[in-house]
Structures are given as structure tokens and as C-alpha cells.
Amino acid sequence: MSGVQQVPAETNEELLAAVLGRLVADSTHTVVGANSPIPASAALLAAGLSEGNHQVTILGSREFMQFTDGGKELFDYAAQGRMDAFFVGGGQIDGQANINLVGVGDYPGTKLRLPGSFGSAYLYHLVPNVVLFRKEHSRRVLVPKVDFISAAGLSPANHYRVGGPRWLVTELVVMKFDADRGRFYLQSIHAGHDLDEVLDRTGFEFDYDPEPAVTPPVDDQELALLRTSVRESLQPVYPGFCSRAFGQ
């Protein structure tokens, strides 16, 4: 057809935001930690597609902050069961979805001391849909066993646990965590990469289909929202990211 406008190719950040956004599409309240522009974009995208029933809190922002009872309120709120989804990163992530934010080497981080566990050890158990997001996909990050468990992926049956890790997204893949099997399943590989590369760059074992699905690209609606309202909303919080991450 003639006259169809060519949509410029999505950026890596846009793809990751769209992929993460789909994983929290059903939320009523998604909370994004500080210094997390891609998850913040994802949450705002999901909210924008939800017709107004999806609340977003972005820690560190002023506009997307509805709490009025100090730093503790977020954690109380999660324990009250009012928060559906949260994004967590990890210095190291292993195949049982344990995450390490404390340090590499023997404790207390003789090789590399990381900032610390922040709220992960708690929210990992209380938020129903925890999405792990680490852009870097490497054997350095995705390890057979983390050097330190900041937050545990699995719990014995008698531990009080209403939440946990459900997904892992990197620059290469979407993996779904199967808590019953205690393993990740390779849900899809982003376009331009293949299973061999994923196997080569992943330090832990995971389940997969020999012919894995390709991560669906950003669709027009997602892209339009990301480049308009999401970008505008994020501009005051992450000006540098906004000028760099979104296509025209």
C-alpha cells in the first residue's frame, strides 16, 4: 500500500519497556523503585493501556507518589495486599530466582560490595507479581548460585508467602519462573538473538522449547504511547533517559 507512514524502529529501551509493561498489564497498582527508568516506562505504558484502572507509583518521583505516611508506608501497603506488581533488579540472579544485591565474593563482599538489599528481601515475599529486570544478560549476572541471597526465590511450604518472582526480563529474553519446579522457563527471545546465544550467555540452567518463541515487537499503540504520554510523564523524573531512550 502506498501512503503508509513508516514507523521508525523501536529502540532497545522501548522494546524492554513494552515487554515489561505487558507483564504488569493486569495490575491495579504497580510500584517502581528508584533509579529504574525502563520499569517506570513500562508501568506507565501498562497504565496508559488500562483505561485508568492501573495506579502507578514511581519512587523518587513527585508526581507518581501517592503515599503520605513516610518511607514505611510502601512496605505496609504491600503487606496489606494492596500492591500487585513490583520490579526488582539484581547484582546476581540464579536459576532458583534468588537475587543478590549485597556483594560478590565471600560476605561482606570481598570482591565487590554492592549497595545492599533495599526492600527486596521483604517485597519479594509479599508482592504477587515481582518482575525481575536486569538489562545485562551475562554469566556474570545470571549465575548458577548467587554468592549471597538478598531475597530467596523459593520458600518452604510453611513460610508465609503471598508473592514472589514471576518473570525475568533481560536484553535477550523473557523467562517465566515456575515456583513448583523451581526453575525458569524461556518464554521468548527478543528478535535478533537466538537460543545458542542465550545458552551461551546464561550461567544457570533453565527450561526451554528447542524452538523458542520470538518476543513480539512493540506494537503501534505501545510505541505511540511510549513516545507521547509516557515520555512526557517521565521527563521530570528521568530527563536524561527521556532524551536518549525514546525514538521520534
Partner: protein, 270 residues
Amino acid sequence: MSRVTLEQLVSKISSGDKLAIPPEYSGVAMAATRALLTRGVKNLHLIACPQAGLQADLLIGAGCVATVEAAGISLGESGLAPRFRDAAQQGKIRMLDATCPAIQSGLQAAEKGIPFLPIRGILGSDLIDLRDDWLVIDNPYTEGDPLLLVPAIQPDVSLFHAPLGDDYGNVWVGIRRELMLMAHASKSTLVTVEKRYKGDLLADPVYAAGTIPHMYITATAEVAGGMRPLGFFGDGSVTDVEHLAGYEKLARSQQGFEQYLQEQGIEVGS
């Protein structure tokens, strides 16, 4: 309560004190921290409530800190906190690793005058093995339900920067009630205030809602810009990320850290 100078304010912090400091999204008393470096205290037990950044890194780099209790120490988007990282890697500080709500619960236990608070989650984390003051008990209400307890955290002194203080010693913090929790939990509380509020903050019902009453406040000092180079909820100012990036680069070595202090005109007392 008394209104004092910045030097008088920090003179109320002593070597060995348990010093509580707020997170960087709140009100960090940076001018007071620089004055504290000049005063030259030692062996502080730093309690990040529940996380910290530049402030903690300066105190650690200057050798003021023996123990760090925190859920996280970093420079945020400017990267790892280099003096903290170095001190932790070399075992120069005793590290009490925590998670945000555990510190908040510890402060709440002190606020309530109770020995501990139970807390959900965390089970299975290696944090528990490291903390012999965290106990796992059987929930007395439900058989076979292991439950973590964290002990009360009572700082000797809390130090923070707030938007407004009045002549009666009341301090307005608005929605940043982690500052109020710190004041409730602490034996003493020192505050730098951005501006003087003319009148009684408690007499205005709208301001009163965000005010820490004077009974909890030991002293205030008026220090406009007392949070710089960090951002501040009180006036919407944002962190000077160039400053932090420059600091991060320099402070990767102790020598560079000393250079930073010199460039900033901060003399470290002994």
C-alpha cells in the same frame, strides 16, 4: 529545644553515638555533615533510615564511622558509593546489612517503646544468618508459622534537614514522615531548617498535620540550602548529578577523596 548555630548543632553529636540519617529522597543535612567532619567525631554507629548515599560515604571516607546499619548505601544513578564500597570490601567497617522495612520496623519498635516488631517476608534471606539480633520464632498465634522479629532501634541522635522550623522548636516535614519516625524513636533530634516559619506551626491545622512537635526536637539551626548538593523534597530542588558524578570518580581512591574534601574546603577534624 533551642535555636543554635550549625557548629553548636553538630557539637551535640559525640564519638560513638548511634547516628540516624534519612534516605536521600527525604531531607539530608549535608551542611551539618560537613560541619560534623570538621568537628571530627569517631566510631559512629551510622543508622541509614533505611538507606543513604553521599552523606554516609563522606562520613565513612573521613574515618568517622565504625558501624553501618543500612538496607543500602549508594549514590543512586551516580553509581556505587566508593568509600563505603572500599571500607566494606576491606572490612574497615562493621556492616549490619538490613532491608528497608526491617529498619523502619526497628525504629517503630523504639517509637512504641517495645522490644521488637515482627515482620513478614525476609525468611530464606542470608541477611538473617548475619544478624544475631534478628530472631526467627514460631508465631504464637499460628502453629508452624516461622516469623522474623527485629529488635528496636533507638538512635542516640537523629540528624536531618527540614523545610520549616518555628520559634517554638516545631519542625515541618510534610509527607516525609520517616523524619518524624526518626525523631520519635531517637533520644535526641537535631535539625537544620531551610526557612524560619513565623508563628506556631502547631497552631495552623493544615501545617500541624505535617509537623514534628517541639518535644522531640533537641535543637534546630537555620541553614538555607543545607541539603546541597542533594535534592530536597522541601523546595523541589534536584540533586546536582554532576557533583555526584565528579565525587564518585574522585572518591574511588582515598587520595581522590581527600582531594574532593580539599576542593570543597572541608577540613576534617581529629
